[in-house]
């Protein structure tokens, strides 16, 4: 959806949504060890692979619209930042993206 609510979702609702998305990406056994939290890391805890990052980016786009440009955000990361990436950082990124100005209608997608 692109007609995002004027009230940006808060971190708790984004975290819940991210858990739903990651369950779709990784499968039902996502929460095998412990519940998803802001401190859960993508590399060490979830062992997310590059192809799953691609799927995550697509689902964030489907869910929140083009203001949540995960691909461009991740393209700005160094290797150590990717290794250390947490669920909390992605939640904060989504919240920050949605609280910014909406893109003008018809503006070209970035990247």
């Amino acid at each position: 959806m692109t007609d995002v609510d004027t009230t940006a979702p808060d971190a708790a609702s984004v975290l819940a949504e991210l858990e739903r998305i990651l369950t779709e990406v990784i499968g039902d056994d996502l929460l095998l060890d412990e519940p998803l939290s802001m401190a859960t890391s993508f590399d060490e805890d979830l062992q997310l692979e590059s192809i799953e990052f691609v799927a995550l980016a697509e689902k964030l786009l489907d869910t929140y619209g083009e203001r949540v440009d995960f691909v461009t955000w991740m393209a700005g990361m160094e290797l150590d930042e990717i290794i250390a990436l947490t669920v909390g950082q992605v939640v904060d990124f989504v919240v920050a993206s949605l609280s910014g100005p909406a893109p003008a209608a018809g503006s070209p997608a970035e990247g």
Partner: protein, 391 residues
């Protein structure tokens, strides 16, 4: 008669594909030799092969120790470790020895594995003709596409390495040590890899390991000729790390209408179901001829040998190039993926059942099989390498 020097890393899957190619070159009247780390690498080569150690035994021990530290790492952390703690130091340590091996052997052409970058440095420095030996297909399509800062940092590390070994900075920044501008021998097919961007001179030759000699002891396995057989293998490097996976796989096979051969140390599968045979080594090519499907970690050789036998795959990639190779198979329609670290018995059982029964998977595997036959294998690789010789 010309002299081909194979520059290899100390990894079985990267050495094996060179052996048949080298034998074909010898059959055509050329001389061949290998250079790499002393010890394990030499032991992989046929009796009587010429091997020129490129380093001291201490370097080989360092790489072995690094390998022992890696089983816990996955994803980006494993990538960082492989690049920074293994491949770059390995290249640095091998340059002088490879250079000496070129002189000692009188090499005309270097055949350089993508994980033995010292060969590329020496070839560039000396102005020698060289081929890239892409013993896994993961680097043909850049896995760092979409992560430009990471790709740039890796490129810079390889530039710095060249400069440290006497290549001018401007020259070092050109091209890529992983991709020879003269020839890239890829032991796969375009039908499996998909379109490759760029203009690298790639010769897709298909697997070269299909004729390797094996000790066929299959008659001792007690396999039922009327039941479909599934090979379950995590390759040579990962068997020890697979304790959980093998336990799950044994449960997945229990009481099923198929039988399975696990390539694993016996202690990792202590109480196998009646329809599971466990062997620490198998004659894989002969066994694949009797199999109907394969469960694999996505190692390039096992995947290509399975597809060369027309077999669908269940893929449980662990790290490194394996997720990329697994993704190629899935996109080609010849396999299904499961999660190595998390999969449970029930979904793994379902995945095996699909691999055994689904006609679309089998048809796709047959298409890849045909593409491998058309690629020509070992003779095609030798043709391409002979093409590098002057007039």
């Amino acid at each position: 008669m010309s002299r081909f020097l194979f520059v290899v890393p100390p990894f079985t899957g990267h050495v094996n594909p060179t052996i048949a190619v080298a034998a074909e070159l010898v059959r055509r009247g050329h001389d061949v030799a290998w250079t790499g780390l002393p010890g394990a690498t030499q032991a992989l080569l046929p009796e009587g092969s010429t091997f020129l150690p490129a380093t001291t035994a201490e370097v080989a021990a360092y790489v072995d120790a690094a390998g022992d530290r890696r089983p816990d790492l996955r994803g980006a952390a494993a990538f960082k470790f492989l690049q920074e703690e293994v491949l770059l130091p390995l290249a640095d340590a091998m340059v002088d020895g490879v250079d000496a091996a070129v002189d000692a052997f009188g090499a005309d052409v270097l055949v350089v594995d993508q994980q033995a970058l010292a060969g590329a440095i020496v070839a560039r420095r000396r102005g020698l003709r060289w081929a890239t030996s892409a013993t896994t297909s993961a680097e043909l399509v850049d896995p760092l596409d979409g992560l430009p800062l990471v790709a740039a940092a890796m490129h810079q590390a390889r530039v710095d390495l060249q400069v440290a070994h006497g290549i001018a900075a401007g020259d070092a920044a050109q091209g890529d040590l992983r991709t020879s501008p003269h020839l890239v021998v890829a032991y796969t097919s375009e039908a499996l890899v998909g379109p490759v961007p760029g203009d690298a001179p790639i010769a897709f030759v298909g697997p070269s390991t299909l004729g390797r000699p094996e000790a066929d002891d299959l008659d001792g396995y007690g396999l039922d000729p009327d039941r479909p057989t599934v090979l379950v293998s995590l390759g040579t490097l990962n068997a020890e790390a697979g304790a959980r996976f093998f336990t799950v796989a044994a449960e997945a096979c229990r009481d099923q209408p198929w039988q399975a051969v696990f390539v694993a140390p016996a202690e990792l599968v202590p109480d196998p179901p009646a329809n599971v045979v466990v062997r620490s080594r198998v004659p894989q090519l002969a066994l694949l001829e009797r199999c109907a499907a394969v469960v694999s970690h996505g190692g390039h050789n096992t995947v290509c040998e399975s597809l060369a036998a027309g077999l669908p795959l269940v893929l449980a990639p662990i790290r490194d190039d394996q997720p990329v190779v697994a993704d190629q198979v899935v996109r080609a329609g010849a396999g299904v993926r499961v999660k190595f670290a998390r999969v449970k018995a029930e979904p793994l059982r379902a995945a095996i059942a699909v691999a055994l029964a689904d006609p679309d998977l089998r048809a796709a595997a047959a298409r890849i099989q045909a593409s491998f036959h058309a690629a020509g294998g070992t003779p095609s690789a030798a043709d391409a390498l002979e093409g590098l010789l002057p007039g």
